[in-house]
Amino acid sequence: MELTKVMEPLAEGGKVKTQASYKKLGKRLLRSKTGMIGLVIVAVVVLMAIFAPLLAQHDPAKTDVINRLLPPFWMEGGNTDFLLGTDNLGRDILSRIIFGSRISLLIGISAVLLAGAIGMALGLIAGYYGKVWDFIIMRTVDSLLAIPNILFMLIILAVLGPSLITLILVLGGTSWVVYARMVRSETLSIKERDYVRSAKAIGAKDFRIIIKYILPNVLSSFIVIATLNVATTIILEASLSFLGLGIQPPDVSWGLMLSDGREYIATSWWVAAFPGIAITVTVLGVIFLGDWLRDVLDPKIKD
């Protein structure tokens, strides 16, 4: 009997186990090759955006007609002053990519935050309160879903003019439906779980239940979708640039660079190729990270 007491903590787990589960997370990340790649890429891009002024060799807006369309340094005619070459106005492409990461990320992240906030709130309301709320919100969602995203943006941006703020507002304001749908359906199922009934049984008010019980439990799916949407948004911004409705100079984004550079694909490939690579790699990183988050945060796979 003595011994039972001694051994029990081991059997019951305890602190040891908690540490283990954090370590597990780290281990999992290390083991998941793609997750690791994703994390590194995203970290690099974020650092690049934060420290852009320190990293960039040149002023991204500085034009230099004499040095226009210089190839990257390893090619004939290129020089190390402009590592990745210059664009049609003689601006340093590397510096523009570094600064472009700011706007591309800013747009990606803020649009997603905005959409997420709206979608989360409306999804929770529709799912938790149901009835008329649900009807109104979900019909609106249905209507907006029936109109292709990009068309919607095209129309609004054509009118409002594509400034940074309008871009964020439009990108965010049209993509919340995805979150609303997801949050609603998750809410519907979480609402029926015993722990929500248990909260009701102890007398918790609706607001508390929504904030403390439902929201944290939809959060993991939410984060996954949000991460993936950052990627989608970066691409959407590029597409809008193609249609002439993306970011406008003197601001610079990867989408803008890519879209402007398409004219030079055949003659001066580097003008478009490098922003293209920047977008592709970043999106790749974000998606890998999102997939990894999905694996880690999904309770089904967790145990």
Binding site: L3, T4, M7, E8, L10, A11, E12, K27, R28
Partner: protein, 322 residues
């Protein structure tokens, strides 16, 4: 005549997990004899299902048998080719599962799923298989068998589905039927129906049955012999009457004492303290010792072997004497 149909010797199964390999079945040995019903009992997570899946050769992708001998009649199961194993499965060894809700494919009709096995193993034509399928459904007591053949699983109740599973398992006259908790998900009145059905079938066909359960009531109803598992090991093995009359291992004893008896009300139930250990962090020595009333320092050191106290009764404990 004791004639071994299946013999399992020192079976070890492990899973590849994020913490490396975790061994969940650690040297299980037992025999199933022709015509007998063997019950495996034990707590959740003790490795009952894993053992049966290992026998069937259908462990999940991250699991593997890494040691031991598996013999079915004269075949060495571990050395069969994939194809040979497939011919064995569903044909000579059949299996029914716990959840009749999810064990049938929701998008195919009952008829399709029944015929599939028959056409595969007996090379029957579709019509022949249909006929035989209806016959099988009738055998397991399904009224309107012909209609049921055209139904989808969701259109049947839990009890009916379990009957379909049994019909499917028996359709190729297997020599061994493995039933993994076949009644756990069912209501008592339905459970009684299914247990009766199994008992009658056995009487008729001389199929050996290996039934996995944690309900000692079911064991008492059905089994000839019982194996008790704890933490991936066999801790006791005995003929049914002997086990109930004279359980030797402290775990078996505790298990028996902790069931509330329907007709013998006590004030306080006996209870085994603590919980089943995590397979990734097994206690040293005897795996039951942290929960064992008899456990002492000796038990932490020695991993007891399975000893026979009689020809048919064995236990894995150094404290109790046969």
């Amino acid at each position: 005549m004791r004639e071994s149909l299946l013999s399992v010797d020192d079976l070890k199964v492990r899973f590849k997990t994020e913490d490396g390999y975790v061994s969940t079945v650690n040297g299980v040995s037992f025999d199933v004899e022709k015509g007998e019903t063997l019950a495996i009992v034990g707590e959740s997570g003790s490795g009952k299902s894993v053992t049966s899946l290992a026998l069937m050769g259908i462990l999940p992708a991250n699991g593997e048998v890494y040691d031991g001998d598996l013999r079915f009649e004269d075949k060495d199961l571990r050395n069969l080719t994939k194809k040979q194993y497939r011919q064995l499965r569903g044909n000579e060894i059949a299996m029914i599962f716990q959840e009749p809700m999810t064990a049938l494919n929701p998008v195919f009709t009952i008829g399709y799923q029944l015929r599939e096995t028959l056409m595969l193993h007996y090379k029957l034509s579709k019509d022949q298989a249909q006929k035989k399928g209806i016959e099988m459904l009738e055998t397991v007591g399904i009224p309107d068998a012909e209609k049921v053949m055209g139904r989808f699983p969701h259109q049947l109740s839990g009890g009916m589905r379990q009957r379909v599973m049994i019909a499917m398992a028996l359709s190729c006259n297997p020599k061994l039927l493995i039933a993994d908790e076949p009644t756990t998900a069912l209501d008592v009145t339905i459970q009684a129906q299914i247990l009766t059905l199994l008992r009658n079938l056995k009487e008729k066909s001389n199929t050996s049955i290996m039934i996995i359960t944690h309900d000692l009531g079911v064991v008492a109803e059905l089994a000839d012999r019982v194996i008790v598992m704890y933490a991936g090991e066999v801790v006791e093995q005995a003929p049914i009457n002997e086990l109930f009359e004279r359980p030797l291992h402290p775990y078996t004893q505790g298990l028996m004492a902790s069931i509330p008896k329907i007709h013998d009300v006590v004030d306080e139930l006996y209870s085994i303290e603590g919980t089943v250990p995590n397979p990734a962090a097994m206690p040293t020595g005897c795996k039951f010792h942290p929960r064992c009333p008899l456990g002492d320092i000796e038990c932490t050191k020695v991993h007891p072997a399975l000893e026979f106290v009689s020809e048919t009764h064995s236990k894995r404990c150094i404290k109790v004497k046969g």
